[in-house]
């Protein structure tokens, strides 16, 4: 293993920890948007796909890369749009988009 690879392992493990700590705090209320969001973020495969599609590694690699770019981009665009759409539906009873007051009864 090279020094770079060791650092990559560090990055992976530490990012996994960050993910674990952050995501355990996401309330069950937002678990579906969380799935949609991570789905959009998993479109990061796009980075690898772009390298393959644009790297002039031969026709086969280019075609595989092209399909991969399409798939990943579909996830990115669809994923972020649907996450936003879902999150925009969650409203408080007093229907004020912001404001942490706990007053109820304004709705009726």
């Amino acid at each position: 293993m090279t020094a770079t690879q060791i650092i990559q392992l560090y990055v992976f493990i530490l990012a996994g920890f960050v993910g674990f700590l952050v995501i355990t705090k996401v309330p069950p209320l937002l678990h579906t948007p969380l799935m949609a969001a991570t789905n959009a973020i998993s479109g990061i495969s796009l980075v690898g796909s772009i390298f393959l599609a644009g790297g002039q590694y031969g026709t086969v690699a280019t075609i595989l890369g092209f399909i991969a770019v399409v798939c990943a981009m579909t996830n990115v665009v669809g994923g972020f749009i649907i996450t936003d759409r879902m999150l925009s539906m969650f409203k408080r009873a007093d229907s004020k988009p912001t404001g942490p007051q706990d007053t109820t009864g304004g709705a009726a």
Partner: protein, 496 residues
């Protein structure tokens, strides 16, 4: 905090542009500098934005903005990649990005919320397919370079992981999609020796994987491993029932992330490693939460359908009579109730009755009653499924309660309305040691003063388990399709 970082991101991008102008084009100065440095910094910014985006989901009033930051991060990652010196032709990339946008837009904009579980499963397939293809492409061109003294072991292992996790996620997600969309039966499909067969298949995949690390140029073995990966995905999900899909979908979410991470190792890219690790962690946590809410272990969900024929049922309903109620009588109960709790389940999603539920809830509130919604972690077909449906129908999120938040308040509840939920309210999970769901945490519905159950008929729920709640003396059954029952209730309450 997130705003600060957003602002910090802008100068970074500006600096990137500046450096690009000034750096001698096409040549890296030394180990890292010029264009490469810019690319790496852009990746760093997008990694930070991803973390902040996910963190924003812990607070609902910041969530939308945070996810927009994450989207911005994705844009940075794309732009950063395009700046890379390894990219020589752009036509295929641009074409792919445009086509992906055209396909992705309707998938984001128009898919109804009721179809969300299958929509998510479907897009896991896409994400994993991208990772798999990148792995195959990477391998394909690596073995074609004749002068290299082989693919380095570490890199081969990364590609192997990527292709294996990717391929089984592709077909596994497709199966989950099929079961959720119901063009594949939701019942577990089992055959004799399935467990052994799958284990053998899995073992042979590992053998291929190890073999390739030491003999990376054995191209046949690589494609055999790919094929085995696809087969494992199908066979893994085949025996898992529709009600267990929340765990499966979460697990596949995790695998898709790990495949992306492996891609990062294979092509030396940290943003892929980080984003993939975040996804992997998220999917893993969700599947843990789901398994815990079903009081089952991972292995039990994944292999549980094997060997246990679907005869299991602790108690039978012989000699017990369920009391049915008319919509009129139920409406009277609801109209004058002080505290009402709705318990939605998969049945509400199937009947698409969330709008009628909200209408009924508003009428009860108008009459002076207090309404809450109790949501079990595994109600529906994916984590948080019920919350999204209710939110879509304009139910305010501060009226939705998790199981732990609401369980103590059932004894003070006048009427509980169970809409198409079954196992999550089955008292057998507490009382009946012989029951297959014994030990699963449930909503304590039976502690309430009155229970009205909306149900299509008396057939037992998905797990095939008899529910003694339906025979409780406090329970009345309102038979019929949830949507039409609720519509009737709404008009009856209005007429009072």
């Amino acid at each position: 905090m997130s705003l600060l970082l957003f602002l910090a991101g802008l100068p970074t991008a500006a600096a990137a542009a500046y450096l690009l102008m000034t750096a001698p084009s096409g040549a890296a100065l030394d180990a890292i500098g010029g264009r490469e440095l810019v690319v790496q910094l852009v990746y760093l910014v997008s990694s930070v934005l991803f973390v902040l985006g996910l963190r924003s989901l812990t607070k609902i009033d910041q969530a939308r903005r945070g996810m927009q930051l994450a989207a911005l991060g994705m844009m940075f990652a794309i732009v950063g990649t395009m700046l890379n010196q390894g990219i020589l032709t752009f036509s295929w990339i641009i074409g792919g990005l445009v086509l992906g946008t055209v396909l992705g837009y309707p998938l984001g904009k128009f898919v109804p919320m009721t179809a969300m579980p299958q929509r998510i499963a479907f897009s896991h397939m896409f994400g994993a397919l991208a990772a798999t293809l990148v792995g195959v492409g990477e391998y394909y061109h690596s073995v074609q370079i004749p002068d290299a003294q082989g693919i380095e072991r570490f890199k081969m292992a990364a590609i192997g992981f990527e292709v294996l996790f990717g391929s089984l996620t592709v077909t596994g997600s497709f199966m989950a999609f099929g079961k959720l969309q119901e063009f594949i039966t939701g019942r577990p499909i089992t055959f004799k020796g399935q467990n052994l067969f799958n284990l053998a298949l899995f073992a042979s995949a590992i053998v291929c994987f190890l073999w390739l690390i030491f003999n990376p140029f054995d191209v046949r073995v690589f494609y055999i491993m790919l094929a085995i990966g696809f087969a494992i995905g199908i066979l893994m999900v085949l025996p898992i029932g529709g009600a267990d899909m929340p765990v499966v979908v979460s697990l596949l979410n995790s695998y898709a992330g790990l495949a992306a991470s492996a891609t990062g190792f294979a092509i030396d890219n940290n943003v892929l490693i980080i984003a993939g690790a975040l996804d992997g962690a998220s999917g893993f946590i969700l599947s843990m939460v789901m398994s815990k809410a079903m009081n089952r272990s991972f292995s039990n969900v994944l292999f549980g359908a094997f060997g246990s024929p679907v005869t299991a049922s602790g108690k039978t309903s012989e000699g017990l009579v369920a009391r049915s109620i008319s919509a009129e009588d139920a409406a009277v109960q609801l109209a004058y109730a002080g505290r009402v709790v709705f318990v939605p389940g998969y049945g509400m999603a199937v009947a698409q009755a969330q709008h009628q539920v909200r209408e009924l809830a508003e009428l009860i509130e108008k009459n002076g009653g207090e309404v809450k919604f109790a949501i079990h972690p595994v109600a529906g077909r994916m984590p948080g499924h019920m919350n999204v449906l209710l939110a879509e129908a304009n139910v305010p999120y501060d009226k939705m309660y998790d199981m732990d938040e609401i369980n103590e308040s059932f004894p003070e509840t006048d009427v509980v309305v169970v809409i198409g939920a079954n196992d999550v309210v089955n008292p057998a999970a507490k009382n009946d040691k012989a029951s297959p769901i014994y030990g699963m945490p449930i909503l304590n519905v039976s502690a309430a003063r009155n229970i009205i159950v909306l149900k299509r008929g008396m057939n037992p729920g998905f797990a095939g388990i008899e529910n003694e709640l339906f025979f409780d003396e406090k329970t009345s059954m309102l038979f019929g399709d949830a949507k039409s029952s609720l519509t009737k209730l709404v008009s009856e309450v209005k007429a009072l």
